[in-house]
Amino acid sequence: MKQATYTIKLPVFEGPFDLLFHLIKKAEVDIWTVSIAEITAQYLAYLQTMKELNLDIASEFLVMAATLLRLKSKLLLPRPPSPESSDNEDEIFEINSPEELFNRLEEYRRFKEAALYFKEKERQQQKIYLRSTGGQKMMLVQEQQSYYTFWEGARLLGEIMRSFAEAAASGDNKPVITAVDDFLVTDKVEFICARLECSARALPLSAFISQKGLWELIVTFIALLELARQRRILLLQERPFGAILVSLNRTDAKENLNGT
């Protein structure tokens, strides 16, 4: 869906502001003195040239055009003393006066220029090769998620289990199977929560395993799964294949307790 929208030529401009900005520049006039009517006319002309209009992506441009037309019509009328309206500022294009439009365009221009600075910095920086990337240019982190939570994909289950197994196997003790089932899932759940409660930061999986044997391992794993399912804990990972950390889901623990 999203890919298909790129069939039209619009993305030359990064948005209606960008286009407006371009038009103003083309008219070679100062942003403060340019006639709003003139920009509007140019803007509409530009919209006209877009033959195969993809409505989805062009809607923002159309809204902008409407805004400009409204501004133009307002200019023809005597201005009310207090333009009280813009309370619902959820609307990106809620612009009520030419001043406001100019201010916003001006603000946009500043960041647009800052973006050029970044572009130049990027260009410079990409001439420097780092060792960490094995001869590739810097920052090859392309598709890195800042964290995963458990629900974000069953495909992560395998990885979590593997990490868990690794955490369990670290240390010299290999899991030993004992007949005594002295660990109950409910106990372990309590233990995990208590442990997390008094820890300000997220803990690694190994924090919950005392190397007592295979049974405890299984119970711990089930307890963690259960807690994750109830959304009482969060499983965090800073990068793929990184260590998995467990923390309390403090944000909406209450709702989730009733959730299941």
Binding site: F17, F111, E122, I128, M138, M139, L140
Partner: protein
């Protein structure tokens, strides 16, 4: 440990470390003051820069990091192949610029500057770890707040955020 040895140790550190390393950290290991470490690193940097050595030391993201001489980029590119990751788009640059200067900032605030929806761009920047979610704004709907990351500094080779040039108008106002 004599001075020559200390310099060698710093050089070895920077060589082994893949991320920018702070003077404080080096200082702690060598039992030196951070100032001494900084002086030694400046010396080394200077020396490497003047003699145009293949390896240089850069000041990035609050620490120091080794990298190759920029002039060698064409040769190295031939050797190691073209970059695989695309550069950032202009839309991404604009968005990043807004976040860098206005952080912490909400999506709506960014969009109102740019005049376009940014969810897609934000998602991409998050994935590339150039920005992060830094909390929620105490406002209706508790919108997420975005800020830049250390990787952002590394990507652009910036020492810290203060290195950003002042925004044009801000400087006029000041």
């Amino acid at each position: 440990m004599e001075r020559e040895r200390q310099r060698a140790a710093i050089e070895a550190f920077l060589f082994l470390k893949e991320d920018p390393i702070k003077a404080e950290k080096i200082a702690a290991v060598l039992s030196l003051s951070p100032e001494e470490v900084k002086t030694l690193i400046q010396e080394l940097r200077q020396e490497l820069a003047v003699s145009k050595r293949g390896i240089q030391i850069y000041e990035v993201a609050g620490g120091y990091q080794m990298g190759t001489l920029p002039e060698l980029a064409p040769v190295l590119e031939r050797a190691f192949g073209e970059e695989t990751v695309g550069n950032l788009t202009l839309a991404a640059m604009e968005t990043l610029a807004i976040i860098a200067y206005k952080q912490p900032v909400t999506r709506i605030e960014i969009e109102s500057v740019r005049g376009v929806k940014c969810d897609h761009v934000l998602e991409n920047l998050l994935k590339r770890r150039l920005i992060r979610i830094g909390g929620r704004k105490e406002a209706p709907g508790r919108p997420l707040l975005y800020g830049t990351t250390i990787d952002f500094l590394k990507y652009f080779g910036l020492k810290d955020l203060r290195e950003l040039p002042p925004l044009e108008d801000e400087s006029k106002e000041a």
